[in-house]
């Protein structure tokens, strides 16, 4: 037989075997809800809820994954991922700020290995952060409208991880249109500091050194303020390791964690599997976003072309529900997944079970009763309006409407991925899905 024919036959036999093994891994994790103490009957409410929202054209589609005791008990795709494609379990989503917890893990690996201390000033690694100044607004009509005062202290790595650095986000001027946020948004816009979602040009390092020279919204450590500190942390990883953030994450996170479908810029072969991004008014008007667009101070683009080099540690990743489950499971397992140790148990506890922001509240998507660890918001009690199942639950979200929740007490993970702007419309739906996930616990 000719050599080429042998190769062809081998390929025909071997490639499906390889594909099969990947799928088999995933199937191994799938169980019936009852096997892990969840009620199928109660989980069926997710389907009813999702289908109703899709019929009402509030959203085009989404994926819900609920896991318990290390097994996937509920994993369904709903609706459409694009005008001409159904949603499926392997659809890629722009996870935006759900990148931040992953970047935080990268930073904590450097901490564990002795490369950095959480108390280190960021300027030790990125000198542009030396001697920051803080914006103080004068009453309306004053000339000049503000003054810049020296910060009481420098920003530390810990401040970046728990969002008390004094940095902010440009889009927050839409959420909190007070003089400080509006002026900060002006500074960020004038300096061309991207929120990381709008096909930014250059490298993230170029943005970070500009950001470093801009005033802070408050003195470091004196308020909790969500920000693009994730980009600074990502660049910090690059400075400390000499690798790009992509290289670092591929090597030390995605490969060992089995996250084979998580990218900053998906390869050409996977581009068609990226969900469309939609705008919705939650009243039946859904529109596909086809190019860069603005919504108030927020600028975003659906495009993440192969070969991009802007590796945003704050908002740059695309992933699947299954890959993000792997990440959540690693955190739930106290740092270990599939026999690979990513972080130590003590470090995971520091990140997800320890309040790092004192008296402040993690108010952006949660509120009273929620604190912040290092990269994650943590539920502290059940006495307040946002309840994800109990104290100790840790969560975060992505601005294009992606959510995850990890419940260590019940050994449970809930993930809901879809792609709709603006973010706030889906919040009641997410809370209902979480309530269903919680009330499905039947042991």
């Amino acid at each position: 037989m000719k050599e080429w024919a042998i190769i062809l036959i081998a390929a025909i036999l071997f490639i499906p075997a390889l594909q099969g093994s990947v799928l088999a891994d995933r199937r191994d994790l799938t169980v019936t809800p009852e096997e892990v103490g969840l009620s199928s009957e109660r989980l069926a409410n997710v389907e009813r809820l999702m289908n109703r929202h899709i019929e009402e054209k509030k959203l085009a589609g989404g994926v819900v994954l609920i896991a318990r005791k290390g097994k996937i008990a509920y994993f369904k795709a709903f609706g459409r991922s694009d005008t001409d494609r159904p949603m499926n379990k392997d659809t890629l989503f722009r996870i935006a700020s759900m990148t931040k917890p992953i970047t935080s893990v990268a930073v904590m690996q450097l901490y564990e290995r002795g490369y950095i201390l959480l108390t280190d000033p960021v300027s030790k690694y990125i000198p542009e952060f030396k001697a920051p100044k803080v914006l103080v607004m004068f009453p309306k009509g004053s000339v000049p409208p503000y003054e810049l005062v020296p910060a009481k202290r420098e920003i530390t790595i810990r401040d970046l991880l728990n969002h008390t650095s004094g940095l902010t986000y440009r889009f927050l001027a839409d959420w909190f249109p007070d003089p400080i946020h509006l002026q900060m948004a002006e500074f960020y816009k004038e300096a061309g500091v991207s929120d990381g979602l709008d096909e930014p040009e250059g490298t993230v390092g170029e943005t970070v050194v500009k950001l470093a020279r801009l005033p802070l919204a408050f003195h470091p450590g004196e308020a909790w303020e969500y920000s693009n500190s994730g980009d600074v942390l990502g660049y910090l990883v690059e400075v400390v390791t000499g690798m790009t953030l992509k290289e670092y994450m591929d090597t030390y996170l995605f490969k060992p964690m089995g996250m084979h479908d998580t990218y900053f810029y998906p390869p050409a072969a996977r581009q068609k599997d990226i969900s469309a991004l939609w705008t919705t008014d939650w009243k039946g008007n859904l529109e596909k976003v086809t190019g860069p667009m603005s919504m108030g101070h927020l600028r975003f683009s659906p495009n993440y072309p192969e070969g991009g080099v802007y590796f945003s540690g704050g908002s740059g990743l695309l992933s699947t529900a299954h890959d993000y489950f792997q990440f959540c499971q690693m955190m739930l397992n106290k740092g270990e997944i599939d026999g690979k140790r990513i972080l130590s148990r003590k470090t995971v506890e520091l990140m997800t079970a320890t309040n790092q922001i004192g008296e402040f509240d993690s108010y952006l998507i949660h509120g009273k009763g929620w604190k912040f660890g290092l990269g994650f918001s943590i539920q502290m009690d059940r006495n307040h309006e946002i309840d994800s199942g109990g104290p100790g639950v840790f969560e975060w979200a992505g601005l294009h409407s992606t959510r995850f929740s990890v419940d260590p007490a019940e050994d449970r993970i809930t993930i809901f991925l879809h792609q709709h702007e603006p973010f706030f419309h889906h919040v009641p739906l997410w809370e209902r899905i979480l309530a269903i996930s919680t009330s499905a616990i039947a042991d």
């Binding site: 108390t119 542009e128 000049p144 810049l148 202290r153 040009e201 950001l211 020279r213």
Partner: protein, 294 residues
Amino acid sequence: MKPIFGIGRIRNVALLITMCLVFVLPAWATAPRFAPEWFQKDVESLPVVVAHEYPPYRSVSIGGKGPHARIVSAVFAVAGEDVDLVVQPARSLMIYALSQEETAAVVGEEADFEGVSRKQLVFVPFHIKEARYFRYRPNHGGGSNWDGKLENMRGTVLGLEGPTDVRVWEKAGISVALGALPALLERLVAGEIDILGADAERTEWLIRKRMPGKEKQFVAMEIPAWDSFSYVVFNTNLGTGESLAARFVDALKRLLRDGGYDLILQNAGSRQALSDMQRKKLIQRLDSLKIPDN
């Protein structure tokens, strides 16, 4: 009378020192691992000269901060002044530094000072930038030069960075569209404007950065469109501004005449050396400057 340093007293002092060490050393071992100076205001590094982002001429992302930063620092050095040149990412922060902080001088273009009171300021030109007219080959081909006559562009739509006085172009029958340079470049590619008139080095840098692979599609017309100055603007409010400006001017003239200026530009990677005409123009402007006495 007992001796001051008797055996007993020496023993007691030795005991005291030992006790101090016993209690203090563990405290050192467990002390916070940060240096206090990380959390203190750095009064030593007060910026003297503030510029703002204007790549490729000056930018925090460019090694050595770009040709403008190199020239200004070198001229100050020749004038006997070591300056800390800070590049701010936003123009408004540069203006704030000039008006509200103890900043000796700032670096910028004429348009940066629109609406800023010039009473206490001394404008010293230190560089001349060349502007060109650009066409986009796929839309208009590579031909047609303006040959130094605006009427050759009659009937076209010209994109210019605003705000600017457009009367001279409109008088020649040219429609002018104002905008920011990145937006104008996109409009040129989209065919919404026929010609773009802008700083040549900055435009070519932006094309390389934003439209890699398309560089050859942009044609810069042969004859330069106009020249414009960049300035170091001295603040006379501080009391030392005039003398500093005078020394800066002397040092700059020296560098322009002895070739040091060209060497700095070349080392900073600037694509454009000063022409003899530009050098003459710059020196003439410096000669005609009237810097008020202290």
